[in-house]
């Protein structure tokens, strides 16, 4: 529309001179009939051209716009530690345990400071900031209003003091004052949300946290999450129900609060009876009631089809009561379907299509539930067309968290890729994570490490070693601290593509990640190094690495090292002609109560032979005798045959030979 006008304007401008000349001429000859018409045309063209371009007088940017633009220019530095640890190099986490410890202590320090400020507002009265910064000033956490009034009740509700609020409400009732409906609603909300118990305030010292045992700390993320729901169960006839029953009239909001509270705190059957009660009172439910009831449906029915029937019945009632479903409705339907067995597969797809037909964009949690329905166990993940379709649908989109379950999507999708060994799909998921701020939806550090662990495992299994190492450098350790199993996968990948020469650098990483105290991992590394002979320089680096491993041995005397790893080290040292160190290793066998193998001693003897060190050979045979090896006589025999020996040495050896030789 605007374009042609602009075009005309443009041409008018270009031909301006000519036009002007014309106009002048025409002005001189007003007598001509077409003058005015032409001028009108020109004027019109000008008007159109000015209309088409609307230059805003002022563009208002959001206050973060500049910073967002700047932040988008900074890409992730794979060599750096996460930003939150950059203040203090001493606190650079090298293992996942350290990461957890440091980030938790950082957070707890913040909360402690906040607690002090909030509880001692008298000490923090000076307001330096100009303009005033509210969040730096102490918040009111204690009650100010002492008299019995609705205002005091409201204050108690905003401060989330459940028991105090209930007391105040009772006092108000006794005094005969009526409390407004709005305040009653929020009071019921408060009681139901916290199941009639005072919530643990932010920043308050949490006594029960200290009681967590050491072994529980590892699973803390899960324990906490589960405990939030399970710690407080709905008590029979608690204050919420009592206040509810005292109400002269109850509306949907009241029922909504009660039902949501009951579902949240595990009183599922009670929630459903409450719902029927509400229907009997000729009230219509709101969307929150339905969401809560649908998520509770699998818990009140035992059979798969009964569960689904209940969910479908609830949806039908929603439609009858003209309640528009929202994203959470369908997400709870899908979540309920996860527990509906054989019905789930068809109904889940139908539900998804219903969502789309209603114009509700599914969130990642919806897809997560669907994937869970279709890929129940690891064995069923062979045919992953559904995941392909889902990823194709999601490709390149930016997500915001709309459901707390959204964060489970990426790790479960990656699990399916891992189960079906589909590398291509794994890359697609990874690129989806990279889009926009989707990485935030990987969830907390625990979820994130699960995701990257699976991705890395998949890479090690399927990808060429060069690419694996590229990813290794990129995600470790800035995003992911691999566990011993992950390192073992990497070792196997190195072995498959025969890039064993990289082993010393991997050992350094193992040491940094503090996995050097896992004997089986170290043993695997050593056995890979010792398995076959390599070129001289590789052997040299292997020997240096082996010595390094040995120094770790010495540092941690409590760890039991197997005979195999000891002999691997010795072999590596022998191959690099470090005879003296190898000899020390043999002494170590003795102090660790391990017995060297015959092959190792034979190797050692050959090295002695090539060195021409007969003294060492005799000592070796003596050492073997000290270990009471049954093959000592054979070693002695070999030494006697191959070495140039003095009489004395010969005597020792022949004695050992005859002593050990089987008598038969």
């Amino acid at each position: 529309m605007a374009a042609p006008g602009r075009h005309i304007g443009h041409s008018v401008q270009r031909n301006g001179r000519f036009l002007l000349y014309n106009l002048e001429q025409l002005l001189g000859h007003r007598g001509f009939g077409w003058t005015s018409a032409l001028r009108q045309q020109a004027a019109e063209a000008n008007k159109e051209s000015t209309e088409s371009v609307v230059i805003p007088r002022k563009k208002t940017w959001s206050r973060e716009a500049v910073l967002e633009a700047l932040a988008s220019t900074v890409s992730r530095d794979p060599t750096a530690y996460p930003y939150q640890f950059q203040d203090d190099p001493y606190l650079s986490p090298r293992t996942s345990t350290e990461f957890k410890l440091f980030s938790l202590s950082q957070e707890s320090g913040r909360s402690a400071a906040k607690y002090i400020v909030n509880n001692n507002p008298k000490l923090f009265t000076k307001d330096f900031a100009e303009p005033h910064i509210p969040c730096l000033m102490p918040e009111t956490v204690s009650l100010r209003l002492e008299e019995v009034s609705e205002e005091a009740l409201k204050e108690r509700i905003t401060l989330r003091k459940v028991t105090a609020a209930v007391d105040m409400y009772d006092q108000l009732l006794q005094a005969g004052t009526t409390v407004s409906m709005e305040t009653t609603h929020s009071l019921l909300d408060l009681i139901c949300l916290y199941s009639d118990r005072d919530p643990v305030q932010d920043g308050e010292p949490q006594t029960d946290d200290a009681e967590f045992g050491e072994e529980l700390k590892k699973r803390k993320a899960w324990v906490r999450r589960a405990s939030d729901f399970l710690k407080f169960t709905w008590k029979e006839n608690n204050n919420a129900e009592r206040i509810f029953n005292l109400l002269p009239e109850r509306d949907t909001r009241c029922y909504s609060a009660l039902i949501r509270g009951m579902v949240k705190h595990g009183a599922y059957a009670k929630a459903f009876s409450m719902y029927t009660d509400m229907l009997n009172n000729r009230l219509t439910a709101d969307v929150h009631i339905f969401n809560a009831l649908i998520s509770a449906a699998p818990d009140v029915q035992d059979k798969f089809n009964e569960r689904w029937d209940l969910v479908a019945e609830l949806l039908n009632q929603m439609n009858q009561q003209k309640v528009r479903p929202d994203l959470l409705t369908f997400n709870s339907v899908l979540k309920a379907l996860r527990r509906c067995g054989f019905l789930a597969k068809t109904q889940a797809l139908h539900t998804l299509n219903e969502m789309k037909a209603l114009g509700i964009a599914p969130s990642l949690a919806s897809y997560d539930h669907i994937l869970a329905v279709f890929y129940k166990s690891a064995s069923s993940a062979q045919n992953n067309t559904l995941l392909q379709e889902v990823i194709a649908e999601l490709e390149g989109r930016i997500f915001t968290c709309q459901d707390p379950d959204d964060v489970l999507f990426f790790s479960s999708a990656m699990r399916i890729c891992l189960d079906s060994k589909d590398l291509e799909l794994g890359y697609k998921i990874q690129s989806l994570v990279d889009v926009g701020e989707n990485w935030r939806l990987l969830g907390d550090s625990f979820q994130q490490s699960i995701y990257y662990g699976r991705f890395f495992n998949l890479l090690c299994m399927m990808e060429h070693i060069d690419v694996v190492l590229k990813w290794y450098k990129q995600i470790i350790p800035s995003l992911y601290y691999p566990n011993p199993q992950g390192m073992r996968d990497l070792l196997q990948a190195l072995d498959t593509d025969s890039r064993l020469d990289l082993l010393p650098s991997i050992w350094k990483d193992i040491k940094t990640l503090r996995h050097d105290n896992k004997p089986d991992l170290v043993e695997e590394l050593l056995s890979l190094m010792a398995r076959e002979k390599h070129s001289a320089e590789v052997q040299e680096s292997f020997a240096a690495c082996a010595l390094d491993v040995k120094s770790v041995f010495d540092l941690r005397p409590s760890i039991e090292w197997s005979a195999a790893s000891l002999s691997h080290i010795t072999t590596l040292l022998l191959r690099a002609n470090k005879t003296q160190q190898a000899w020390e290793m043999l002494q170590l066998f003795k102090s660790r109560n391990r017995v060297p193998s015959e092959g190792l001693l034979n190797n050692f003897l050959s090295v002695c032979h090539s060195d021409g060190d007969s003294q060492k050979a005799v000592q070796l045979v003596q050492l073997s005798a000290a270990f009471c090896l049954p093959t000592t006589w054979r070693l002695a025999k070999r030494a006697l045959a191959e070495f140039e020996l003095t009489e004395e040495q010969r005597a020792i050896l022949s004695e050992l030979e005859t002593a050990g030789e089987p008598s038969d």
């Binding site: 940017w61 500049v66 910073l67 930003y83 969040c135 609603h185 949300l193 045919n383 935030r440």
Partner: protein, 429 residues
């Protein structure tokens, strides 16, 4: 080669893999298995099935709908013609005839083929074949419909080879005694009619006839107990390429699992493509049909209502579940900006002075109008006040209200000191 063929024939129990192998072989080595198998006495089997296959392929090329059908079905058709018949209970008579014929003749064919093989073993094989039949049942149901369609459209040409194969079989199995070098005229007729279904008719016919002759020779040899000859003959055989067989892509073949969990598709380029095709109907299909899709009533959104405690709790849950850690300094500054700890960008040195911005500047500067009331027009007080006003107009740190208050303080002051001023001959009014 010899061994593979034998396996194909004798172990239909695990026929899935083996038949698949042989098909690949057929496609790869430019050889048809059929002729080879003819040699071993299962002639009717393969010829009938091959003719079926051929026809099917023709059909495929003709109609788009049939083309959509899996090639795997064609392969099955070939590997288990008997099953096809078993499913086709209500199909044409000829077909059932063929079925009984074939099932009945299976046993002698096998025993004859492999003298070393015990009867019990072949019975096991038969049972294995039956098992495959059962597992194929479902797959073949839709095949049946297609089959019927075919039998309606191409009834005549199909019936002919069917008959011919029956007669052929009768000749082959029952007529061992007739050892004439010349073929039975009925057999020749049957062969030609069978060949008529093939694209290049004359060549196929001659091939079939040659095959039959060879078979006669073998039958004779076998009767003499010269079973070793068989291998020689098979080795000497030349196997021609059948272009139509290429349509059976190995990528879509069905692989059977021993644990009976069903079948899985091979993944390859073709299955990738079919995945693209399927994609459209897996995530876009039927819906629950509970809600009306129309957004007709926008619904009286209670958005105006202030967020309840539940909403706040939900928002808190969301923020806890996602990773909110800043990745670089700028992101941390964004966080601070949101918490209002940081000056906002673009930098504005009047931040926090929003109230003051509403006051126009001239109210700050031109303060003389405040002197009109309560102050003398001239004299030292007026002079003093003019100086005060000038000073105030240059002071950026006071609000207009404060300036006015300042002036009114002087007004009150001078009024209080009115007596003193009068004594000095200064009048306020």
């Amino acid at each position: 080669m010899y061994r593979i063929i034998f396996r194909t024939l004798l172990a239909p129990r695990s026929s899935s893999v083996n038949v698949y192998d042989s098909c690949v072989l057929a496609a790869k080595c430019d050889k048809t298995v059929f002729r080879v198998t003819n040699k071993c006495g299962v002639k009717t089997f393969s010829t009938s099935s091959s003719s079926l296959c051929e026809k099917k392929n023709n059909q495929d090329q003709k109609t788009q709908a049939v083309k959509e059908g899996d090639q795997a079905e064609v392969v099955e058709l070939k590997e288990e013609p008997a099953v096809l018949k078993a499913e086709d209970g209500d199909a044409t008579e000829q077909q059932t005839d063929v079925k009984t014929e074939q099932v009945a003749s299976k046993q002698p064919a096998k025993t004859k083929n492999d003298a070393a093989k015990s009867g019990k073993e072949s019975l096991l094989n038969l049972l294995g074949a039956m098992k495959v039949e059962v597992t194929n049942k479902r797959k073949l149901k839709n095949l049946k419909a297609k089959q019927r369609y075919e039998s309606v459209t191409q009834y005549k040409p199909k019936a002919a080879p069917m008959k011919s194969t029956i007669s052929m079989y009768q000749k082959a199995t029952g007529d061992d005694s007739s050892q004439s070098e010349t073929l039975d005229p009925d057999l020749v007729a049957a062969a030609s009619s069978a060949a008529s279904t093939l694209p290049n008719r004359s060549q196929a016919e001659s091939e079939l006839l040659r095959q039959l002759r060879r078979h006669e020779a073998i039958a004779e040899a076998q009767k003499k107990g010269d079973i070793n000859n068989l291998g020689v003959i098979i080795a000497e055989m030349k196997v021609g390429k059948n272009p139509n067989r290429q349509n059976a892509w190995p990528a879509d073949q069905i692989r059977f699992d021993d644990d009976g969990r069903g079948y899985t598709h091979y993944r390859g380029i073709t299955s990738e493509l079919s995945g693209v095709r399927k994609r459209r109907n897996l995530l876009l299909g039927k819906r629950l049909n509970i809600f009306t899709s129309a957004a007709d009533e926008d619904g009286i959104e209670p958005a105006a209502a202030k967020p309840t405690l539940w909403d706040m709790d939900f928002a808190n849950q969301l923020s806890l579940s996602t990773n909110q850690m800043p990745r670089n300094g700028f992101e941390e500054m964004i966080q601070w900006t949101k918490e209002e700890k940081l000056w906002q960008y673009p930098v504005n040195n009047e931040a926090g002075l929003e109230e003051e911005a509403k006051v126009p500047f001239h109210e700050h500067i031109f303060l003389e109008k405040n002197l009109e009331e309560g102050f003398p027009r001239e004299g030292p007080v007026r002079h003093f006040m003019e100086l005060v006003v000038t000073g105030l107009s240059r002071n950026p740190y006071l609000t207009v209200q404060q300036k006015k208050e300042h002036i009114s303080w002087f007004r009150d002051y001078f009024h209080q000191k009115e007596e003193v001023l009068k004594e000095a001959d200064v009048y306020l009014e």
